[in-house]
Symmetry: C2
Subunit: 498 residues, 2 copies
Amino acid sequence: MPVASPTVLRQLSPATTARLLGTWHAGGPAYIALADALRAAVLSGTLAPHTRLPSERELAATLNVSRTTTSGAYARLRELGFAVSRVGSGTVTTLPQRAIEPGPLHRPAGGDAPLSADPLRGGTHAGAPAAVGHLDLWQATPPAPPELHGAFARALDGLPAYLDSGGYEPYGLTPLREAIAARYRERGVPTTAGEILVTTGAQQAIALLARTHLRPGERAVVESPTYFHAMEAMRDAGGRVVGVPAGPLDVDQLASTVRRARPRLVYLVPDYQNPTGFVLSAEERAAVREIADRHGVTVVGDETLVELGLSDERTPPPFAGDGTSPHVVSVGSASKAFWGGLRVGWVRAHPQVIAQLARARQSVDIATAVLEQLAVTELLGRRAEVMAGRRQMLRERRDVLVGRLQEAFPWDVPVPQGGLFCWVDLGLPVAQAFAAAAAAEGVRVGGGPMFTPDNAGATSRVRLTFTRSPAELSDAVPRLVRAWGRVAGRQRPAGSRA
Amino acid sequence: MPVASPTVLRQLSPATTARLLGTWHAGGPAYIALADALRAAVLSGTLAPHTRLPSERELAATLNVSRTTTSGAYARLRELGFAVSRVGSGTVTTLPQRAIEPGPLHRPAGGDAPLSADPLRGGTHAGAPAAVGHLDLWQATPPAPPELHGAFARALDGLPAYLDSGGYEPYGLTPLREAIAARYRERGVPTTAGEILVTTGAQQAIALLARTHLRPGERAVVESPTYFHAMEAMRDAGGRVVGVPAGPLDVDQLASTVRRARPRLVYLVPDYQNPTGFVLSAEERAAVREIADRHGVTVVGDETLVELGLSDERTPPPFAGDGTSPHVVSVGSASKAFWGGLRVGWVRAHPQVIAQLARARQSVDIATAVLEQLAVTELLGRRAEVMAGRRQMLRERRDVLVGRLQEAFPWDVPVPQGGLFCWVDLGLPVAQAFAAAAAAEGVRVGGGPMFTPDNAGATSRVRLTFTRSPAELSDAVPRLVRAWGRVAGRQRPAGSRA
């Protein structure tokens, strides 16, 4: 198949590139460090494929390095499969093609261990170091609970009642909508099924809220740092993302930002915030709802992590309060409480908002899969027992990671009270260099800046997830120690100029 | 819960409203006919909720009716739950809220017949006629095949291999990608798994292609008429949709439109085209690929219906030809071949395009559900036997609908050689009035204009799907006869001015 000229979707200025790279030179030959930093940015998603990089000359001038360094770095990126260059097109980021040679017929699923089909996790492409992304402390994806298989089996018993229908229920199956509403009522929020829309995961819920509430150029306010893909969904909708300090959330600044910036949407993670781990107090939640009602702005509380309390098994108070504000929207998900391979989420909102979202989803994916919905209905019916096991597993994994990190590093490693992440303070503004060095050691981590709206804050923080097995977590730590050794020796403390 | 002021997402000018209504006055009191036409437009999706209608005065002037008529029509719309009016906001379209009273706990799925949770299909809300949308000749959603349950059971046997993973595979599970690639090879297109992206249905594939290829204001070329939600996805991405006559496709005009309009995307349905039923010949396909390569424009062939030949069981030639053009993209789906309740589709494209789509989907829904993918892998392995039964069922339903229509009406009812639709020529430019009258008789049909980019063509056509049971199809026809009686008696033949 002939290779087309590289598609160019955007252009990066030298200044933006420099900001995105942060403190990239963490020792060794400069061209390798620069290439590694750019590769890490592509792998972590902060630098999109099909982006035209600055010319070698421009970038050299901006970074104050020699042209030989930028030229060598781009050549290395090309070798690794992360860039292509063409006369007239400059150097354009890309993702490596993996060498997949399928057999003549498909292999039966059951006999086939799950392969990573995701080059973002590293792969087998020629030229790239085999270790890239081998250990994943980036994706927050716990394994499935033991109850999942049985839930699907019972769901399959219930499936025949649906098979004569067309299978499209744009609002979701009634039993699931009722089970979700019942869970809100159990938490103290009067809710009917008419206030629930089932979505294909919480990410879709956020994307639908963004596209129905934001027109190009309109503002959305988020915590800074926050969930990376939520900001992406808002930008995809044309929105301008504005941050308010979080970890803990500055509610007064939220109020003044809403007054000043007049956003159409506010997005918060009230429980075990992603990535900081903070939980909004009942008073802060009430203050946020008051802001929503006073300014008539839709405030979305992403409750994806609400069931994942690890120190205190009480579930945090519902973001919706008494459920009466038409401006307060809650998003929920089966992905973290149950399993990421289940693609079911939901929105709780005023029925008119629900109708608006349901219509928007018609051109997105029409409806959510029927059997998935039946399985989640089953799991919600056994929520208490499933969650007890999950919390136990996550508590062990958190303790392994926190313990190993505290032994091995001088970092400030706060112990998260719930959720899936450690938000580690490195004490030096080297998050991006460290993330690049970690990737070179075979461990993917989330550098702090990518969680901030301008991709420039949280430069001394990294997010480490503890969802993989204790063995994998333990295996990651010595690699992180090596990466840290390459980075820390060259740096001055935070606050001084590098 | 207090009702918020109606959210207004767009404003309809009097002229656009008039064009959208077409020939709306099909007898009876004018205010009822006008309200029915507006309600049918909301139900069919041509008039979105949260649209501010023109003022009563403006609309009366444009339609050349009395203010009493528009005022009465809006009042009736409000009564039926399809509009709200507020001082300062005017009259805004909305969807009726259904009266759902969930029990204290969710009911087990198996004991609960599938309820329509979709107000688009009509519901039980107070004030609306119970018959609205009761019989669905709009959605093209066949029931599931008998093999589906067994496929899920076998998929469940294979699931444990995946449960220790996080469940996110942004490109799709390898066995499914390989099975899809194998099917392309079987059809004569050399294909590897690296050229396949699994999506959450074909609709998501189209939406991803639109958002990765179109920037605001850029053009997309489609057949006119074409699949409604494809145009919606392109507009959602900011694209301007341009039509080329279809049924059959005018390939010369496609070439000149591409040359002139310089679109970034062309979208075609090559097999049993939606809604006209035409199949592109091998020569036309080759000409389309030549246009793609000559102009470097991405041409998407939506092969959702390719397995649904009803008269000739040979599958039409693959849209991708020999599979070598980097500008030719194929979209496929399990929804029509197998079941709509399975939300699995795919894209076949150059690996760089696949990587670009996979990245875009991260902010859309992250990944497709694992068990769904295993079930589709199973079904693809038994494709021949499943499709034989499906074709038999659809052939019978097509013959029932075509036969009843030919007995009952003076229309030209072409016999579709495949697919799921009859594209009926009414002989009079009354498609919208007829669709409104049919909705009032409890049958949802697709008025021709909604399948055209300007919502103004195909005024003498309606699309009737034959996916529901023979009993339902037979029940629909006398209702359509009554609707036709209300419409046809008042009209002059096509071509004369109404």
